[in-house]
Symmetry: D2
């Protein structure tokens, strides 16, 4: 895989495959957050699933993404009582896992709301060798 | 419908139902443009259809949207020759039609690239009475 | 002004100048909401003012915008106690007023959080003749 | 610095400070791309500088960002001949450098358009020890 990477020469020579897999995981998580936050959403299951699928498939197009799981936890009372009964997608709705692979390294990165931090954290959950 | 509109009192009293339908159409088109531009996209049909569906369903949640049609015209050569063979969704990819209804007025608004203007135009195509 | 509008022929012939000014106001408000929601923000005054100015200037570039006022009401406790002491711009932070003019019509459109609706409302506040 | 990091326990224990600095650089670059792409822009110098400053200041609020440089290369002919004489910010306009520091590691990450790849690349330019 590394042999085919036309971008490799732009990266610092000290960078390891593991570091590159970490880099690409972070790019993926941050792109999901800043791209889709603000999208109109409600408790409508079809709308939620359509958005989860669109996020998943678009993120998989980015370099070195091997697997993407997207769960949107839409809470709140949206009983469609009037025309304004929906809201915008917020960071805390995201429950995302991205697996990236580069060379012999596989990295699992996550994004989810951490209640004790009151913060939507992006972090690296797992680092593995694939050989 | 107007009777149930909890936001009506915030709008200027001179505003007609037809004007309100026009207003809501413009909100919808502009939300699609600025929300989804930048999303990773390629010639992958499944990814395109998933994004079209997500845009359609999320926009329908907004007030007074009756119908939303989204066609993404992804051109360019993306033969998946390497990891970087995709691009970001651009304004010129959009071919969107939104039908809004308020009171007795139905308005059809569109967004599409106009080659002679080199511009992605949002405009009102049709204005109808529903009675 | 109308004479120079290269897009006019794409709009429905029934559309009035007043309706066009309303349309362009809605495009502006919705573009601000969906473009900038999610931007990292804190109580840092310089960062807030820089973002307000960027929103204002970019929106003024859109067609028929005559004046744009942007106030971001950033509440919450951000005392920079650690690295995670900031948040994302939310819809309820916006207090925006846009004045659009087309032909002989001037329209003032607003976006702000309405507590009783628990909703960030875009609405038309004023409709005036300029002659 | 590491001692104060309330998020550290969520990261994989194998992760080095250098890897964390790389991770945070990628988060920053990708947030800029997906947040600000689509913003109305023209050759207007004041609008360009206001947006550069807003991007810079908002990104600096994110964890472990030590320095952010943003240059928007707006090309094209925008002589304000009519109301539609502007365009949306595109990925290829970005020339961004972010310096992140974590523990004893300092990492310089960049985002810029690479003509030979026809791609807006995010990459790690420099990896340093700060001790």
């Amino acid at each position: 895989m590394s042999a085919e990477d036309s971008a490799r020469k732009f990266f610092n020579k000290k960078m390891t495959d593991r570091e590159r897999a970490i880099f690409e995981g972070a790019v993926g998580l941050s792109s999901i957050y800043h791209q889709f936050i603000g999208t109109p959403i409600s408790r409508d299951k079809d709308a939620i699933e359509a958005l989860e699928e669109a996020i998943r498939r678009s993120t998989l197009l980015q370099p070195y993404k091997k697997d993407v799981k997207v769960k949107l936890n839409i809470t709140g009372d949206y009983s469609k009582k009037d025309a304004y009964d929906y809201r915008s997608l917020e960071g805390r709705d995201f429950d995302v896992t991205i697996v990236t692979e580069y060379g012999d390294s596989r990295v699992t990165s996550c994004m989810r709301y951490i209640p004790e931090m009151k913060y939507v954290l992006m972090y690296v959950e797992k680092i593995e060798d694939t050989v």
